[in-house]
């Protein structure tokens, strides 16, 4: 765990991703798994790892985890892996290197116990989830169609919750084209793209910024190149999280309507959408898996809560393919996507037990897909 957390592997860090995979792959091979490094589907990303183990039973089980984080190069140097009491710290410790390590350990347990009552276990370790899996999308789609169930190793939420719904994630880009001019000699000849963008961004406040439903938040803004030039270009990116696909249409329509009316004359506003993950809605297939998980957990004297959150994941793609999916099976943590990220070390053993037992039960009695 310390080894993989102490390697910077922000999305797009090709060498970092390869180094993390190089730590994990020998463990998977030692279990007799067939390991394939699959090139990313776009440039600038490290290979995805697909490890496969064949058994003697019926069910085909897909585990998915990711080793990319949201943290850039150099983060580990100032914030390395550490454990203080029952709390672990470090970049990506729960999102999602802890989940990936849990997956490796669960496979080790199955091997140790001599459990083979499954047709196939595939462990996909992907490298671009934090950007919506652009380097893995086709691979995920192929794999979910080849399996009976998907178990996702995203972190559990506090106090001890697995994930039965997730919001979908999209980005709305607002691009403004103006006209450059000298800010001191001829400002009247310029058309200020940044000023127009500020007006357009008022639309963000027409929607909620937090809560369990649709959320719309400004996350990136760029404008201007020099202090003495009226900006010709300005761009903002708006992160949108939705519970249903129709919700996104309403948000896009709001920005498109705003774009039709500009405050700065002669500027042009363009609105485009980029879909990352669809939502994982509440659904009977996931609920049935969650009930199994709760039944496994109860004899431990622990209560496994069911919940959802605004973080998107690959489970939504499994759901779209009609494959039962359960999410948030990694160790419990919080503070995700910030330097407050932590892991509740007390959750490690129960969560490892849960994942291992889920695989054993599903291996013997796979759920029925909706496809």
């Amino acid at each position: 765990m310390k080894q993989v957390v102490n390697i910077d592997s922000g999305t797009g860090d090709v060498e970092g991703g390869r180094k993390v995979a190089a730590v994990l792959i020998p463990h998977l091979k030692a279990l007799g798994m067939t390991v394939e490094s699959v090139p990313a589907e776009i440039d600038g990303l490290p290979e995805n790892t697909v490890a496969t183990l064949t058994g003697t039973g019926k069910a085909k089980i897909l585990l998915i985890g990711h080793i990319d984080t949201v943290f850039g190069p150099g983060t580990v140097a100032g914030w390395p892996f550490s454990i203080e009491g029952d709390v672990g710290h470090g970049p990506g410790i729960t999102d999602e290197k802890g989940g990936v390590v849990e997956g490796v350990f669960a496979l080790k347990l199955l091997n140790q116990l001599g459990f083979k009552n499954f047709a196939k276990i595939t462990f996909l370790i992907e490298t671009s989830e934090e950007r919506g899996s652009p380097g893995t999308r086709k691979l995920i789609d192929k794999l979910v169609h080849e399996h009976d169930v998907e178990l996702n190793l995203e972190p559990g939420d506090s106090p001890d919750v697995i994930t039965v719904w997730r919001k979908g994630s999209s980005t709305i880009d607002i691009d403004v084209k103006g006209r450059a001019s000298h800010a001191g000699v001829a400002p009247q000849d310029g058309r200020n793209a940044a000023t127009e963008l500020v007006h357009q961004l008022a639309t963000v406040d027409q929607f909620p910024h937090s809560g369990s439903g649709t959320t719309v938040n400004l996350t990136i803004i760029n404008a201007g190149s020099r202090y003495n030039i009226i900006p010709e270009d300005a761009r903002a990116q708006i992160n949108v999280r939705i519970r249903s696909k129709a919700d996104l249409d309403a948000v896009v329509a709001g920005f498109e309507k705003s774009a039709q009316t500009t405050v700065v004359p002669d500027t042009k506003v363009t609105v485009t959408r980029e879909n990352s993950f669809p939502p994982l809605p509440n659904n009977p297939m996931t609920d049935a898996l969650a009930a199994r998980a709760q039944a496994i957990y109860a004899p431990l004297g622990l209560t496994l809560g069911l919940g959802g959150n605004g973080g998107a994941s690959e489970s939504a793609l499994a759901y779209e393919a009609g494959i039962p999916a359960l999410d948030g099976l990694g160790p419990v943590g919080g503070g995700f996507h910030s330097t407050k990220e932590f892991m509740d070390m007390k959750s490690v053993t129960p969560r490892l037990y849960l994942l291992t037992k889920l695989v054993m039960e599903l291996g013997a009695a796979p759920p029925k897909p909706a496809r």
Binding site: L109, L113, P299
Partner: protein, 46 residues
Amino acid sequence: MTTSTWLCGAATAAMVLGLGGAAQAAGKDAKVWAAAEARGPPSWSS
């Protein structure tokens, strides 16, 4: 005392005596739990 109250009282007594934990542990897969414990937090520090 109604039957349900009696059952409630018996359950409480069992918990006080520590029998609740034993009853819960009966559903636990001891082999898997022991293996999971062996790969618990100490081994996550390396």
